[in-house]
Every structure is written in C-alpha cells, then in structure tokens.
Amino acid sequence: MARPRTYILGGSQTDFARNWSKEGKSILAMMREATEGALLDADVAPGDIEVAHVGNFAAELYCMQGHLGAFVLEVAPEFAGIPTSRHEAACASGSIAVLAASSEIEARRYGMALVVGVEQMKTVDSTRGGDFLGTAAWYEREARGVEFPFPKLFGRLGDEYDRRYGLRDEHLARIAAINYDNAKRNPRAQTRDWYMSEAHACGTGKYNGHIGGRIRVSDCSQVTDGAVAVILASEAVARAWSQRRGIALESVPQILGWGHRTAPIAFERKLRESAGAAYVLPHTRQAILDAFTRAGIADVGGVRAIETHDCFTTSEYMAIDHFGLTPPGESWRAIEDGSIAPGGRCPINPSGGLIGAGHPVGATGVRQLLDASLQVSNRAGETQVPNARRVATLNIGGSGTTSCTFVIGRAA
C-alpha cells in the first residue's frame, strides 16, 4: 500500500517588517491575518478546516498568553469546535506543528489541517528578549545571567569549526550578504529595505560590533514579529481540490520526506559527543539523511534549493556541509564557488532566510515550508529558483538541539 501523503494547498505570511506592538495589536491579530491570507491563497472555505495546529515558542513570556490553539477559533466562526493544539520546540516549534498536522493527516484522522506558526517578539527590549530566548537552551546552566546567550552559543559553533577545520570570518560575512541580498527580492522580508554589503559585514565598526564571541551584528537573524499559516491536506482532499481548480494533483506541492531528531540540550555535551566525528552536529546530519531517505533521494543533488535555519551565519555554515553540499568542514568551498548564491548549484535561502527574511521564532518552520512549497509550484515571484522541483528545509530549535527537515516537492 502506498504511503499516505500530505499536500500543501497554499499559505500566507505576514509582512515580517511590521512591528505589531507599535501597531497596538495582539498576537491574535497576527494569527488572523496569516490565517485569512492562507484561506484566500488556497481558495479554501474556513468550514473545510478539520483541525488546527499552532507552532509557538514563548507567547507566555513575550505576550503573557498561553493556550494559543484556542485562539484559532477566534479567527472565523466556522472554526467553532475544531480540535486545536499548540506545539513548542524552541525555534523548531513551527516544524513540530507541521509534523503533528501531517501525522494526523497520514493517520487518516483528518483530511484538511490548518497550521499556524506565530511569534510576537517586539513586546520587550532586546536584553529581555535575549533572556527569554535563553530558555531555548538549558537556561539554568547556559543562559541564566548571560547577556545574549544565543549569539555566544552559536559563536562557539563557529569556534568549534575553526578548531576542527579552520574557519574564516569572511565566509560568514558572505553568508550574511547573500541572505540580505536575497531578502531584497522578497516583498515580505523584514530587512528588504535595510542596507547591507559584504564589506560592511566584514567590518567591525560602530554598527557591526561583536555581540557574542565571533558573532557580529551582521551575523545575526532578527527579532521579528510574524505569523505564517499553511493549509495541509490528505491525498483524497487534495485530489478533489485540484480537480475543482482544473489542475493536476501531481502539480500540487507535497511533503516528500521528513526528518526529526533531538540532540542533548547542553551545547557542551553536543560537542563532546561529536568529538572525533565527521559532523559537528550528527543529529542534525541524521535528520537530513532521514528526510532524504523518506523522499527517495540519494543526496542533496536531489534538491534544487534549500531553506535553512540561519539563526546565525555559523548555523548556515554548519548546514552547508551537513546537507552534503561539501565534505565535512569544507562549507567554505560552496560559499567561494557560488553554489549557495542565486544561480548556483543549490541556492540557500532564496527567501533571505532568518537573517534576511526574519525569524519570528515559532513561525520560522512554517515559513520555510511555505517558501519551499511556493518554489516547487513556481509561485515564488522574484525569489523563484528556476526548475525547483524539490526543495529541502532545515529548522533548528536551541543550540542544534531539535532538528526538523522536510523535502518538499511535486510528483510531476
């Protein structure tokens, strides 16, 4: 019997440049705009949604509000009574919500699911926000009393690469510059109108100081308000939907494969366990391989582009070799030869990624899935990668702790 499939009928993201606190708006307003946009994009009536999953990291801290699943019902009266839940795995929360929804679809419990990823982060100043983000690490051991713990943790990831293989900061600057440049073509990217250049990212002046070890301002993703919603469907529902629209089911994007692994939460233990291994974060590597295997592709050559988790330039540097674009420790080659840039062998983050498009923590995994599905259905506008039949995503929670990957593609 054929494996049950999950199809992506459409979706929508809010403009990540918006500051919803300045607008005086609640987290519900973000969820509403993203959800209404997704229903419109997928041309689906709210009454057709059978279940909803919300990905969110820390609304209890940022907004003093939990139980976000229940807020889906506030968006449309037709949602009354549907089962909802909220999922949390730090920055991978959005992907976990997608996994939960697709599991239920593949288990044939429901035919159509709404997934909303959401985070409102500009409710607090950057120091307090940095402290909240520290709860994605082992707070008591790694973050308590530490100003901006995550730049420091991902700075150490760079240091570990440097120790094992050598790492040049110019390569990290190039990663930043590519992501900012890609974001200029994304009309919903947070930094689309910001100034950035490789020369600026290489510098360390007043506007690009170090904020955690080797991590400079230009190496960081943003503090972002944003929500993203996608509509997922079973094969039977997607077939009826595609027939109604007069398109072939084979052209509808689907989840071809997924991977989901968890590493020890403490960063030091991760490094200790991978000492002497080829990959710095073996669980992340395994999650990628799991997705490739499930998608029936041999290696990264089977995907045309990647939407990866560049919370910092060092995490994208890690993703390059962990995806297999280069042998371990040689990510710099794919940066130097243009492989990851637009027009390259395997462009990374045509959306601008977390650095360029923005990183509303709990929404990022859903945003990656949406952008991948737009790419494979040739609807990605100015960010479109030509002939993108399959696109991979990598969404990471904590310091490389929870790794979720998807291979999104179409059958034809």
Binding site: R18, E23, K25, L28, D193, Y195, Y207
Partner: protein
C-alpha cells in the same frame, strides 16, 4: 546604456539632501555631498551613515562646498537638488548646473510642491530635457514614496530611465504626479491636516487629535504631525495650494488665523524646543496643549469616547472592517466629526484623480503616495473596508459629500486598493 555612477547632491546639509544622498550611496553610487561648507556637507554624510547604519557607505561619499560645485557637476551623472523651497535660489544654482553639466546628466529636484515647469524655464534645451521632480518623503529610509513630476519638455527616455532607476536600485515606490501645487501627497495630506487644524478653532487640540488619531488609519495624530513637520512648513504648503490651486475645497487650505500668531511667536512645533507648537514641552510627564483663545499651553483631560474604545479593541485583534463599521455607526457629535473628516479624506482623494494624477491610474497612485509617503491608510483601503464603492458612496453622502464619479463608476466586488496589508495603518 545610461549608468548612474556619480551623483551630486546640492543642499546636502539639510535633512532631505543628506538622507537622499544616503539612498544613492546605499545603491552603490559615488555621491558628492555639496553645501555651503565642507563641514556642513560632512555632517550630512554622517546623517546618511546613521540612516544606513553602516560606515561603509561613507567610503563612497565626499564632502564639498559650493566653490567646488562646477567641477563636481562636470563629472556627475545625476545632479540631485535639495535646496530650500525657494524658486529664485534654486534657479540661481541651476544656472551653475546648466553651465557645467554633461550633455546627458539628469537634474532633479526634491521640491515638495514648486512648479517643475517654472523651475525648468529659461534654462538650456539640454537641461530642460533632463530635468524632472523627484520628491522623496522624509525620512526616505522609512517612507519610500517618490513623486515623479515632469514638465512638457522632459525627455520621455529620461522619465522612463529615472522611473526604473528610482524603483531599482533606489527602492522607491514611484508615484507619477502632475505638475500641480503640492503635487499629490501633500495636496491630499495637508488638506486633511489643515482641516484638523481648523477644527481647533472650536475644539481642543487634544480632542481633535483623539478623534482623528491613529485608530483612524495613521501612525500619528494630525496636529502632532503638524508639530513634527513644523508650523512654518505647514503654512508654506497650504498657502501654496490656496494661492495656486483651484478646486472645490479651496477654503480647506486657509490656515487658521491663530496659527499665524504661533508662527510669529516662534512656536513652530517640535523644532522649537522651548516654545513647542500645538503641544507644549512636557511637564510632569504630561504634554500641555495649545489653547488658541487663551494663547497658552494648558493641561487638559484626555477625552474618552466609547465608540473609539470599541474600535480600538477591534483593531487590536485585527478586525479592521468591524472597527470602521463601529466608527461609522456611532451617532454622537464626536463620531459625526470623525465620519465627516474620514469621508472628506476619501472624497477629496477620489476627486483629485485626473487633477493631481493621471486619470488612467485610478486611485492607485494616490493610494501609493498616502501609504508610502504619509504612512496613512490609503483612500482605496477605506472603500474596501467600508464594503465597496456603493457602500462608500452612501457613507460619503451621509456625511454631506457628493460621491465623485471616479468612485461611483468602480466595479462592485473587485478590490479597489492595491496596497497590501492595509490593516497595519490602523493603530489601536
């Protein structure tokens, strides 16, 4: 193929010169910041650096005084003039530019309302072919609108090139407008602002700003906006329209008499730190407001209205249609004043199609300039949120406005506004 490598900015010590020069430098151009002295120009570069948050753009910027202007113009591909709003002063500098510019160099002015045709008059044929208005909004890093204004002699190729270049790499939302007083954005924006100012002849400053505040689709209340712009600048804009434009709302541009007195006393708004404007300097955490009858700043209690509170609650949760429905369903005098002014904004905007913008653009150009130049909910968004053209026409009629044909002939069932995410303009 025309390329823009070197740009000269005149008046680079002023806000618009410095920040516009920064926009060119961010796009990779080498920019000569020119003003009365090299020191003032250097200060302009520093403002441009702060705008881009990168010292790197300073590597493409040079500071110069006007004594170096002829040599700088000779090597410039685009001369961007950002001098004060003084026709004679601008034309005096244009003579130097005309005598030194390369044959193919573009010359543009950032003027917010002087006649482009009058500015171009009597200069050489080459200058006239390459001259146009490029009105950036302040601050250009946050407000990307750029009105593009031509005169009958502007070469269409220059217009096409400038339009494309302003969009990319300068990342402007380009709004072609007619060469009319205050162009499109300031004509419509200051009609609304001056109406708000006129209301203070019979209502308190705080009441007017509360009634026409952020929940009505703008980041900042109107009288606070006039304080930010400066009462003197406000006067220059509305006087220009009052004297040189003819439309059904000419009296809307007559500035209240008491504001002349404020200007005479040096109460120009935020830039007059000690004297203030509609709002006085902060005292004990409170901001006193101007009482035109007593000619003093005084503390007044913040008025509260149930319909505003309800509208704000709805906006907070993203229910923008419902919020407007509450505003337009309320029946007390305060609500009627809000309805009248919002209807007036929609009416005046639609009535200006074909006057300040070309008719074939419909409301789109005006929507763009109000959204991206003023950060206000564009008039087309009100039509969509109020339920379409017929429903909006009914709302206008209830407020005493005759709906313009440009509104009533729109097709029902089709979205009117092209600007995305209009909910962002309604601030709870």
């Amino acid at each position: 193929m025309r390329q823009i490598r070197r740009v000269a900015v005149l008046g680079a010590n002023g806000t618009m010169g410095a920040l516009s020069g920064g926009i060119f430098a961010q796009a990779g151009c080498e920019v000569a910041f020119v003003s009365r002295s090299r020191e003032k120009s250097q200060a302009g570069i520093e403002r441009a650096v702060a705008q881009s948050r990168s010292e790197e753009i300073a590597t493409r910027a040079t500071a110069a005084g006007y004594d170096e202007l002829p040599a700088i113009v000779q090597r410039s591909d685009w001369v961007f003039e950002a001098l004060g709003e003084d026709m004679a002063l601008k034309r005096e500098f244009y003579a130097i530019v005309d005598a030194n510019r390369r044959d193919d160099a573009i010359v543009s002015t950032v003027s917010s309302g002087l006649s482009i045709a009058a500015l171009a008059q009597d200069h050489s044929a080459g200058f006239r072919r390459h001259f146009l208005g490029t009105h950036f909004y302040n601050p250009p890093a946050k407000l990307p609108a750029c009105e593009l204004i031509t005169h009958p002699g502007t070469d269409p190729e220059v217009v096409r090139f400038a339009h494309a270049y302003l969009e990319n790499p300068l990342r402007r939302v380009v709004v072609p407008t007619r060469d009319v007083p205050a162009f499109a954005g300031n004509r419509i924006g200051f009609q609304f602002l001056n109406q708000a100012a006129r209301l203070t002849e019979s209502h308190s400053v705080l009441l007017v700003d509360t009634l026409l505040g952020p929940y009505t689709g703008r980041a900042m209340p109107p009288l606070a906006t006039i304080d930010l712009v400066g009462l003197d600048v406000h006067r220059a804009i509305v006087d220009n329209v009052f004297e040189n434009a003819v439309d059904e709302c000419r009296d809307c541009f007559r500035m209240p008499e008491f504001m002349q007195g404020m200007i005479a006393r040096g109460q120009l708004g935020m830039k007059s730190r000690g004297a203030g404007g509609f709002y006085g300097p902060k005292q004990n955490g409170h901001r006193p407001v101007w009482n035109p009858r007593r000619e003093s700043h005084e503390e007044v209690e913040l008025p509260r209205f149930e319909f505003i509170e309800e509208a704000r609650r709805l906006i907070r949760d993203g229910l923008y249609r419902e919020a407007l429905a509450v505003i337009f369903a309320a029946t007390d005098d305060a609500a009627r004043l809000v309805q009248h002014n919002l209807s007036g904004y929609v009416h005046y905007s639609f009535a200006r199609i074909g006057d300040v913008t070309e008719p074939e653009q419909g409301i789109a150009a005006i929507d763009d300039v109000m959204a991206f130049g003023f950060n206000w909910a564009p008039p087309g968004a009100f039509v969509d949120l109020l339920g379409g053209p017929a429903a909006t026409a009914a709302v206008l009629e209830r407020s005493g406005f005759h709906p313009p044909a440009s509104l009533t002939r729109l097709r029902e069932g089709m979205p009117v506004c092209r600007v995305r995410d209009v909910g962002r303009f309604f601030v709870a």
